[in-house]
């Protein structure tokens, strides 16, 4: 009996295994078909992406190994990493790095705080006002960066600007204040315009994160007697870590590649040259393709570094968030 029963169980198990195998095979066949379809659908876009992003990156790296100025084509020569050596030893490059990092840090921190405040306001707003509020907050982000840069430039310019007249009562501001004549004031206007323009973007990303925080967790914390600050720190923030990381990463990358505002307002005067402007001036202004490409490659490496640091810092696995 025991033997019969065992055999019967064995048969059933065997049959179950076969069914499992069959199901797995069918499942993997389906997965493979889905993956194939995925490639068919995404393949062309992937190839185009490679063509428009990878190719220029490789070309820039290749060009960076040459001494090559567009107006002296006969003088083109392979010089290895000498361009990088010149750049990395130059104080002007490091000054540009410092200015870029400063702008990135200040704008991201201020935008994160302001963005959070705006996201909370939007999140808690009465349902009827929510749409209007979101639209109003998003207006600056809808303006083209060059246009907003010109608007800020003309507002602060000593000849055409109205800021000095409106805020003449503030200590330190007078009609004689030339904002774009010194480093500190120039950077202040550049950073302020950047914050004004992109805070809506960060607040929208944070708003989506806030919406994902389970309300029962907040309620449970409240019932347990947690204060508003404790709920914010212990419940809300940890539950929207992925949204914060995406917001910080996107804005940090954007801020690090800042160009328009500086180009329009100071064109790099008073020590406000940022890395993108330095790359532009070298490649396009001086037509130094080799040296300019090397700066662009270094800028690209900085961007990769920022991505890596952000992902490590927040310890967010975006793949696991998708359930993979």
């Amino acid at each position: 009996m025991t033997t019969e029963a065992t055999r019967e169980r064995g048969r059933r198990r065997g049959a179950g295994d076969d069914a499992d195998k069959q199901a797995r095979a069918a499942h993997s066949e389906r997965t493979r078909a889905e993956a194939r379809l995925g490639w068919y659908l995404a393949g062309p876009a992937f190839v185009i992406m490679l063509a428009v992003t990878l190719y220029p990156i490789l070309q820039a790296f290749y060009d960076s190994l040459f001494r090559y100025r567009l107006t002296t084509p006969d003088d083109r020569a392979f010089i290895g990493v000498e361009n990088y050596w010149v750049i990395l030893r130059d104080g002007f490059f490091w000054q540009s790095v410092a200015v870029t990092v400063l702008i990135t840090l200040v704008t991201v921190v201020v935008e994160l705080i302001l963005g959070f405040a705006l996201a909370l306001v939007m999140h808690r707003a009465i349902r009827r006002l929510r749409g209007l509020l979101r639209t109003a907050i998003l207006v600056p982000y809808g303006i083209i960066t060059v246009v907003s840069a010109f608007a800020w430039f003309y507002a602060f310019d000593i000849n055409s600007g109205y800021i000095n007249h409106w805020f003449g009562w503030v200590p330190g501001i007078s009609t004689d204040l030339n904002w774009f004549a010194q480093t500190g004031t120039s950077l202040f206007v550049i950073i302020a315009s950047e914050i004004w323009k992109t805070t809506p973007f960060i607040s929208l990303l944070l708003l989506s994160g806030l919406a994902q925080v389970p309300s029962d967790l907040e309620e449970a914390a409240e019932v347990d007697g947690a204060t508003a600050w404790q709920r914010f720190r212990r419940v809300i923030i940890p539950n929207m870590k992925a949204a914060i990381m995406v917001a910080v990463l996107f804005r940090a990358l954007d801020a690090f590649r800042i160009f328009d505002n500086v180009f329009i307002m100071t064109n790099g005067a008073n020590g406000t040259t940022v890395l993108s402007l330095l790359a532009y001036k070298t490649s396009i202004g001086r037509l130094e393709i080799g040296l300019g490409s090397a700066i662009s490659v270094l800028l690209f490496l900085c961007v990769i570094l920022i991505c890596w640091v952000a992902i490590k810092l927040f310890k967010v696995d975006l793949a696991s968030a998708r359930g993979e």
């Binding site: 001494r67 567009l70 107006t71 002296t72 084509p73 006969d74 010149v86 750049i87 130059d90 002007f92 490059f93 310019d157 000593i158 000849n159 004689d176 204040l177 030339n178 774009f180 004549a181 064109n267 790099g268 005067a269 008073n270 330095l278 001036k281 070298t282 396009i284 202004g285 001086r286 037509l287 040296l291 700066i295």
Partner: protein, 430 residues
Amino acid sequence: MRRRTRLVGTVLALAVAGGLAACGGSGSGAPTLTWYINPDDGGQAQIASECTEAADGAYTIETSVLPRDASAQREQLARRLAAKDSSIDLMSLDPPFIPEVAEPGFLAPIPEDVQERVTQDVVAGALAGATWKGELVTVPFWANTQLLWYRKSVAAAAGLDMTQPVTWDQLIDAVRTQDVYLAVQGIKSESLTVWINALVSSSGGEIVENPTADAAEVELGLETDAGREAARIMGTIGKEGLAGPGLPTEDENASLSVFQGDKGSFMVNWPFVWSATKAGVEDGTLDQSLLDDIGWAIYPRVDAQTPAGTPYGGINLGVGAYSEHTDLAFEAAECIVTPEHQAYYFAANGNPASNTDAYEDPQVLEAFPMAPVIRESLEQAVPRPQTPYYNDVSIGLQETWHPPSSVSPDSTPQRSTDFITAVLRGERLL
């Protein structure tokens, strides 16, 4: 649905056909010459159309407008020429950038007979600016120069005799005593280089002493008495705030605003200021009394005994080396620069002629009563350093002489020389 698809198809077909027709040119059979022009008030387009008519079917000139900023014009032209763009038949070139495009052979050589014809009765400054390594490489078109503009009332109050040449030091003293602003271009841009070059050349110096040398061998003449004198004047104006708080960001237009303002006194600037001020009076934004109070003279001297090296600008015509119609392009260039066209351009658009004949034109004299002074100034004009590395030299100067309040005769010339030399040797970034 099918009707909509057919409609979309028809629209697309028409668009493609239209595009192809546009690529095919005018379709008249005559070659179309493309003239890349700097933005103006329509004068160059008008001349192009007149020359097309005069060509009587031999060619058609089409204009293509370059960016507004001179440096951006240079960038676009240099990039296109480096890519051997055959669409550039004619181009309006700013004189300081000519060696840079002439040296690598981006300009078609000018035939001897054309050279002879287009250099007749041309002012000295314009000829110098059109030449590279002793060869005429571009056709002189219009030639610009800066004048000293002054408010007669301020000059009289300061006791200056403006019928005689005045010096920068006299202007500085006048501005100090009258508590007014001197309008100069202190912005970190090409305008600053123009000022530095004028100051250095007015003392008989040269920013680049061996313009035809290779980048690594370029020698600068800033660490000289001329360079130090230039730094002294600029530093004094900057440090004492004699040009007002706007100096570090002041370009030509901002200078004009300062000059037209309550504290306006003296200004160094191009002749466009006259037509701009007249237009302001006609529009009712400026008073006629302001226009009546404006006088003009030759650019200020550095040393009372030495004539000023007046700033030179303007536009010359280059023929692209990769053009498929260079012969016709030279024909067209000769038509464009006739004294009649230059006179028209001067009177209508305010851009002074390079040909002396144009200065006799009654239309010109009516529109620009200061035309004889402009002509005199052009005869003594000194071009900016003519080297294929001009852009590096110019930006290097801007890096080290800005803001004007930081300029000192003891340190700036040396710092500037060291920096620019290192940049040209490829040891420093700019």
